[in-house]
Amino acid sequence: MSDNRKGSFWEIVFNRLKKDRFAVYGGGIVALLFFVALSAPVISPYDPGDVETSRLLEAPSMEHWLGTDELGRDVLSRMIYGSRISLMVGFIAVGLATFIGILVGAVSGYYGRWVDEAAMRFVDVMLTIPSFFLILAVITMLEPSIVNVMIVIGITGWMGVARLVRAEFLSLKERDFVAAARSIGQSDFMIIFRHILPNAMAPVLVSATLGIAGAILTESALSFLGIGVQPPTPSWGSILTEGKNYIEFAWWLSLFPGLAILITVLGYNLLGEALRDALDTRLN
């Protein structure tokens, strides 16, 4: 990036983000999520598994800020621990999807010809099968568990990244710096990962941030259907599922976990959207 006015490319991006309302709100929400998830044992008022049979389904009060569930467990504490699931699912599932997507997209775009043809046909096929059908079909292959949920969301969500990376590679591989790298005898591996890939990361970063939002929504939907995170592990989706049976009189069991999902997903979406603007080099 030949911008010598104010430091490196990433400094410029960071300065842009600081001025963007979306980025500030989104970043704040995501930072809060990190804080809550990492400090869960310290900040949660009760143990999330503590059953108090004398206080079933209590409405929010001074002692139990968000009420208690059908086993008398503190909803706030369970939600605080549930944030760890959302954080993990977001990063690991999207990390996996991004990894596969980069690999497929890079190889496909760099080598072209039949490799590209085959890979892109495969991507087309994967994109044609209704996404949630695909996820359901794969997840029943495996036992429902938090690890499997992350794997499944990862292996069914890499196609968009693959297309993005491929498109970047198609144009970048024609540039002079690639010819230069080749002429000094660099291996294909080095050219792909050391020279081209760093230049193709901007759109990947945007898509990964927005992907985290999607992954959290998918995890909560799977847990809601009972095939995601299994009890007694608290996840926002599974608290909702347990709560829906009591929704007519215990609204707090359904309202708060959903709000937590909404706010978290909103945070990642705002951040992703702001990143898209900040990384858009055309706006220079």
């Binding site: 044609t128 209704p130 695909l134 939002a213 909702l240 959903g258 909404l262 997903v265």
Partner: protein, 313 residues
């Protein structure tokens, strides 16, 4: 399209059959009286004892004449029949959602793009971000409780009332509409938000182009500039994205049909997956993907209608 369809059948087949465990396990594990021999006989009956490529070959041979086999569930009905009777309601919900998405997202996007940073633009941006951040199933629960239980305005499950047959023809339409109103609105929410955002971006992008300046400088009215010169060009990327949103819509029907107990393809798929009904799962995957292909094809045709340049290539 044919190679894609072929690929879909292979991937679907692999996903289903690489799963550890078999449907016969579920049928026999709970029954101590079943002998190993009987279990083998059952596997042979469903061809589960043969190697995978032979099983796939058998499936493909029947698929060529549109025979999807019979369901493993106790009713053992042909898969195609079961899917066909569940398909209309799912297609209806999805087409209605697409219509709502299209008719609402265009005005929302265009109006916010014409006056960026106006109150309308800020309001719609807020709606857009809330829209694609809201877990649909959660909103569905809340609305069910609000409109179904507390206010009693709308029914919360199924597609017909118990006394549906007593209604007049008009009454029947009203009855079904009341049942499907929430599912349709809910399933359109995410894509509606997304498309509104995209329309706005696309319009903003287009209005920076030289031909818009030309239109203005030759004295076109602002309305003519926006609705005649800009909108048509802004529509191009939207058509593609609308086509791409179809798999998401069909997939989303699993959640909404389960919540509202709507007897559609999504619900059927969920039940089949949970009971490892191989032929059913395979059938729904293939037909669901087929619907997506048809949707994409329609999008391509529309693209040609919106952009005359495509037709001359």
């Amino acid at each position: 399209m044919v190679p894609t369809m072929f690929g879909i059948t292979i991937i679907s087949f692999l996903i289903i059959h690489l799963a550890p465990g078999e449907p016969t396990d579920k049928m026999t594990d709970m029954n101590p009286k079943i002998s190993a021999a009987a279990k083998e006989k059952m596997r042979a009956m469903y061809n589960l004892d043969k190697p995978l490529h032979i099983q796939y070959g058998l499936w493909l041979k029947r698929f060529a004449v549109l025979d999807f086999g019979r369901s493993f569930s106790p009713d053992a009905r042909p898969v195609l029949d079961k899917i066909l009777e569940r398909m209309p309601v799912t297609i209806f919900i999805n087409v209605a959602s697409l219509a709502i998405i299209l008719f609402l997202s265009l005005p929302i996007g265009v109006l916010s793009a014409i006056k960026p940073n106006s109150w309308f633009d800020r309001g719609s941006t807020l709606f857009v971000f809330l829209g694609f951040s809201t877990p649909g199933f959660w909103l569905a629960l809340l609305l069910m409780i609000l409109f179904g239980v507390h206010l009693g305005w709308l029914p919360v499950s199924g597609i017909r009332s118990i006394n549906h047959d007593d209604f007049t023809a008009f009454g029947k339409i009203i009855d079904i509409t009341r049942h499907l109103l929430m599912p349709i609105l809910l399933s359109s929410l995410t894509s509606l938000a997304f498309m509104s955002r995209l329309t706005r971006q696309s319009m903003l992008e287009v209005t920076k182009q030289d031909y818009i300046t030309t239109a203005r400088s030759k004295g076109c009215s602002e309305n003519s500039v926006y609705y005649h010169h800009a909108l048509r060009n802004a529509l191009l990327p939207l058509v593609t994205v609308l086509g791409l949103s179809i798999p998401g819509l069909i997939g989303g029907s699993v959640i909404f049909e389960t919540i509202f107990s709507i007897p559609g393809m999504g619900q059927l798929f969920f039940e089949s997956v949970m009971s490892r009904d191989y032929p059913m799962v395979m059938g729904v995957l293939v037909i669901g993907s087929g619907l997506t292909l048809i949707g994409n094809l329609t999008a391509d045709v529309c693209y040609g209608l919106v952009d005359p340049r495509i037709r001359y290539e």
